[in-house]
Structure formats: C-alpha cells, structure tokens
Symmetry: C2
C-alpha cells in the first residue's frame, strides 16, 4: 500500500493518460491525442473581428494579466456582439473594473459607478448606436430543411437535463429543442441556444423585457448555471487568461459584490480592444514596437470527424486511469479545443 | 434603454428574486424562501465526528483561513473516511500544503515531499492502521426490497448523462444505475455513488487497483468532472471556506502543480482536526480560551418534503427574473442547503 501510493503520480493520473507500457493496457488514443493528430484542415481560424483582448491591471507581483474572449459567431447573439464591438471601439470599457466575484458562479465587470452604493463618481454615458434585442433572440430558430444548421454533423448528447439534446455548432456548445410552431402547420422546427458552460461570457440585464446592452458582462467561474440559458444572452467565451478572472478574491458583499471595506479589491480593466483593431505582429516597427499586437487563434471545427472522435473518446473514457467509463458526458465537459497560433 | 439598464441591479437579478411588487408577477416562493420556511425537524445535525476543520496559513493580508469539510456518512466511502480520521488524529496532515491548483478542475493538498521533483525533505511515513479498499467500494449496491435505500423518498433526476438517474441520499448528491446481477437470478439491484460536484472532496490515487489511502485529497473547483465518478473515492464536501481553496493562484506546472519557480505559492495547511476532538464552545475557559472550538452544522434532510419542494422549484424556476424555466436540472445545481448553528 505504501509503495503503491504515489501522491504526485496519482494526481497526474487524475487527468493525463499514462503510456501504454506503464499500465499494461493497449494504447488507445486519448482525447488530447486525437486532437493533436487532427489535420490542419480541421482547424478554423477565428476572425480577428471576433477576438476581444482585455487587459487587466498587473497582479500584486507586477505580472501582466491579459484575457482573450472569442465572440460568438452568427447566427447567435449578433445584436449583443455588435454592441460589444461598439463599446470596445468607443473605449467605453477602458477603466471599468471587476466589481463582483461570486464563488461557484460568476465574475462580473462593468462601470463601478453605475447604480452602485460604492460609487465615487458619475456613471459613464452609454455610446450612441446600441442595438436593442428582443428575448426571442436568446435562441435561434431553424426550419427542418436540407442545408439548415439543423442537418449539420456534430455529436449529439441526448441526455441533457436542460434541453432535448446538446450538440456543437460553429465552435460553441449549444442546446436544442424540437418544436412544432404555429404559422406553418406541422413543419418541424428546432431552436438552438448557446449554453452557460465554464468560461462562457454573458450580458447582465435588468428585469424582462430588458435584454441588456453589453455594458455589463460576466463569465462563469463554477459549475455551469444552465438555468440561465435562454434567460440571458451569451456572447462568447474566454479562450485565454481565464485564471485571471477565476482566481480573484471572492467579494464579501451580497451576491459576491465587493463590499464597502474592500472596494480596493476591484481589479481595474485598463483596456478592451477588438483584435482586428490591433497592429499585426509583423507590422512595421513604428506601429508595433511596445504596442499590443494582434493575437491569432484557431478552434477545432465542431463539425469535423476529428471533433466527433474526440467527443466519443470523452464519453467512453478508455485511458488507463479509468476503470468505469461513464458512457455519457455533460456538454460542458466536452471543451472545444482552441489553440494560439503565430499571427 | 439607458434608463432600463441598471448594471448592479441587473447583476442582482442574475441570482436573487425581486419582490413581487417590483416585477408585477405573483409571489411564488423561491428556492431560498422554501429553505428558510423549513420546519426545524427537517434539519439534520451533522455529527462532530463527520466534520473536519482544516486551518490554512493566514492570507497575504493576515486574514485567517479555515475550511470545514463534511465527511460522507455510511454507507458511502467508509474505509476512506476511517483513514482520513486516522490521518487527522495522527496529526499527519499538519504542515502539509496545497500543491496543485488546476483551473476548472481541482485544488489538491498533501505531503509536498512525496514523489515530487520540488521536494526539499523526506516524505512523511504513513500512520499505522490504514484500511485498504477495493474498487467495488466506489459505489454501493442495494437490493430492491422494502426498507432499503432504494425505496427512500427523494427527487429523481432522470436525465443524468452519467447514470440512470440522479438523486440525493443522506445529504449528498448521488447517481444510481439499475442492474440485474449474477448470483441472484432476476433480483433487481441498484448501485448508488456520490457525484463529483463543485466542492466535493476526493482521494488521489495511483493506477488501478490502487484506490488511494486519503493522504492526498482534492476538491472540485470547476465544472463537475463527473467522469471521475466510480473511478475515485469521494469522501465528503467543503461546507465552509470553499473560497479559500477555489481562489488560490493556479499553478503553472503540468496539471496545475506549482512549478519550480513558484513553490512559495503552496499554501501551508497548519492543522486538520476532527471536530469531535475540539472543545465545545461552551467548555470551561481553561480548555476553550484562545483555542479552536467545535463548530456545529446542519443540513436540510434530502429525504424531506421541504427538500423535494426546493428541488422542484430549482427545476422549474418561477422567480420573476426567469422567462424560460428549464424544466430540468443538473444534479450539481441542486445544492444541499447547509447552515452553521450555535454549538
């Protein structure tokens, strides 16, 4: 027993496959190995217009903190995504702060002077040109016909407690429900909506029918609060630097807001930029030296055979560590692979 | 739009029900209101023998950090729980540390000198009297007969991706699967096992058939890694002070272990005590002054009508904030209410 107990390697085993030699079992590709073997053509470049670069103040030790958010593509949440680019380009997000960190729930950022008992100044006026969305836009309706998103390939997760099934579209986890809607007799429709997984970014809002503008954003830092699906707009997800938002001190005020005696804990957000507005790394020195440059990322196509094999391997874990494969998976445990590439 | 956008109250609305007046909808009890109205008889005292008090070194600002863990009761994981009490009483856990914090996964603590490239000393010898468990004990088998746990009341969650259904027993979330097992013809059996929800505490182990001793423990700090169910022993959950484990800096080494240049980030664990070994708060001054005293907690009986109503209200959210109730819930989003009481 003593000899067999290897704390650090046991911990390793918690997440990484051992080599086949070590376990004596045949080598079966693990989920990360399947991703590593994906052909280049299965990776999709994320448009620079869909990347937000959020720079927080350095941490207590002076380390820089940058968070990259991938905005969700069409047909999901486009009005809110439009607004978020508009806020970023108006520099409206510059010098706001993280005002709320609630354990196992969300980290939220926005204007600390808006409707806040801790306000020390006036709230910023909102920029012109914001779109107003309806609640109907929390999900997207598709008709059952050839060529629609309804018929695209993708792993199906039939046992999703929050929908008829979970799947993936355009690089994002989505849930769907069948419906027969009025106005078209017995035509079959489907509604898809993005799901509140760890790291997803959403839009704070007031009571219905308000749907939020995008001035106040949050990200999920705990177990997926899926009951918020179709009740709040999701606009993207954190693809780099999540630890800068998830490991912040929890607020002691109601709902995790920083209380009166801890306002100094609010993390300043220095800038938020759309990546396409940043100079390319290869730009001339006068433009790029000492400046933030444009990052580049790719995601594994969720409509690819590689992604289907990756999801299947997660559902039926055959890594040597596992003695009882689940035979199923929660949609939030099939994380879409994303990688940084040379820009 | 500008007028309707209330950042802080929108954030409030994210989690707390508004008053009926505010929303114009009739007042329907919210999950917290259902819990608040529970009769005293629905609350179950947690045995002091089932409470671990773990004292971390104070944080950078000198604030004390205490974590309270509820050990899982019979019939789940009793051999491991036996070992954990034994480790605590041998003071084996004193002066170990948090060695690993992996984002959206686990915080893990144990002997930093065990099988660790960063070791600066010898590993501690393990205490005598540890039990060795089999893999069969990751779940518990019940025969389908009157009076068995099989027939106890509790909300059933039929769409659990990791089992035939989710439910709650003895204050803990558990998943179950039906089976017809050999040796007893067509008799119906059921297996239950605890689930890897946020805050649950498990036992690090090496490769099968090792099942871990309890020297190395972890808690879930992200989305539930349910694929670990029935593959690792769960021994309890954090019921107070979770934020002291979830907000620690993530390790930069492989799997979130603190790397060579950040060994100073390991949080020291000063002591771990079984609550029944601590003096009661009401004990004579000579015993209790300046000493840690015994805390007391209760949980809402998961077999009570109140818990069933609470779970139902979570499945079908009718709070004014919600426009689209899910009609279902993930087992990890029905958190068993726990409260501290005067000891």
């Amino acid at each position: 027993m003593n000899k067999a107990f290897l704390a650090a390697s046991a911990a390793l085993a918690l997440a990484l496959p051992a080599s086949a030699q070590e376990s004596g079992k045949p080598a079966i590709p693990t989920p990360p190995q399947i991703v590593a073997a994906a052909p280049k053509s299965d990776w999709v470049a994320i448009a620079p217009e869909d990347l937000l670069v959020m720079t927080l103040a350095p941490d207590a030790e002076g380390n820089p903190r940058t968070v990259v958010i991938q905005l969700i593509p069409a047909p999901f949440s486009q009005g809110w995504v439009h607004n978020i680019r508009l806020f970023a380009r108006a520099k409206w997000y510059d010098n706001i702060s993280v005002n709320r960190v609630q354990d196992n729930y969300v980290t939220q950022w926005g204007d600390p002077n808006y409707d806040n008992p801790e306000a020390t100044g006036k709230p910023k006026p909102l920029p012109e040109g914001l779109k107003v969305m309806t609640e109907d836009e929390y999900s997207t309706r598709f008709r059952d016909r050839r060529g629609s998103m309804f018929h695209e390939p993708g792993p199906l997760l039939p046992k999703d407690p929050y929908s008829d099934f979970g799947t993936f579209r355009r690089g994002f986890p989505v849930a769907g429900s069948y419906s027969v809607e009025s106005g078209d007799g017995a035509s079959k429709y489907l509604r898809y909506w993005p799901t509140h997984c760890y790291g997803m970014v959403g839009v704070g809002r007031n009571y219905s029918p308000d749907t939020g503008s995008g001035a106040e954003l949050y990200t999920v830092i705990g177990h997926a609060p899926r009951h918020l699906d179709r009740n709040i707009a999701l606009v993207g997800r954190v693809i780099e630097g999540m630890e800068h938002l998830s490991s912040l001190p929890r607020g002691k005020g109601e709902l995790g807001f920083y209380a009166k005696d801890e306002a100094a804990r609010r993390t300043p957000i220095l800038t938020v930029r759309v990546a396409s507005d940043l100079p390319e790394a290869s730009a001339s020195s006068s433009e790029a030296v000492g400046q933030q440059t444009r990052p580049a990322f790719e995601y594994l196509s969720t409509e690819s055979d590689t992604f289907a094999a990756y999801a299947e391997a997660i559902v039926n874990r055959r890594d040597p560590f596992f003695i009882a494969p689940a035979g199923g998976a929660d949609i939030c445990n099939i994380k879409v692979p994303v990688r940084r590439v040379a820009s």
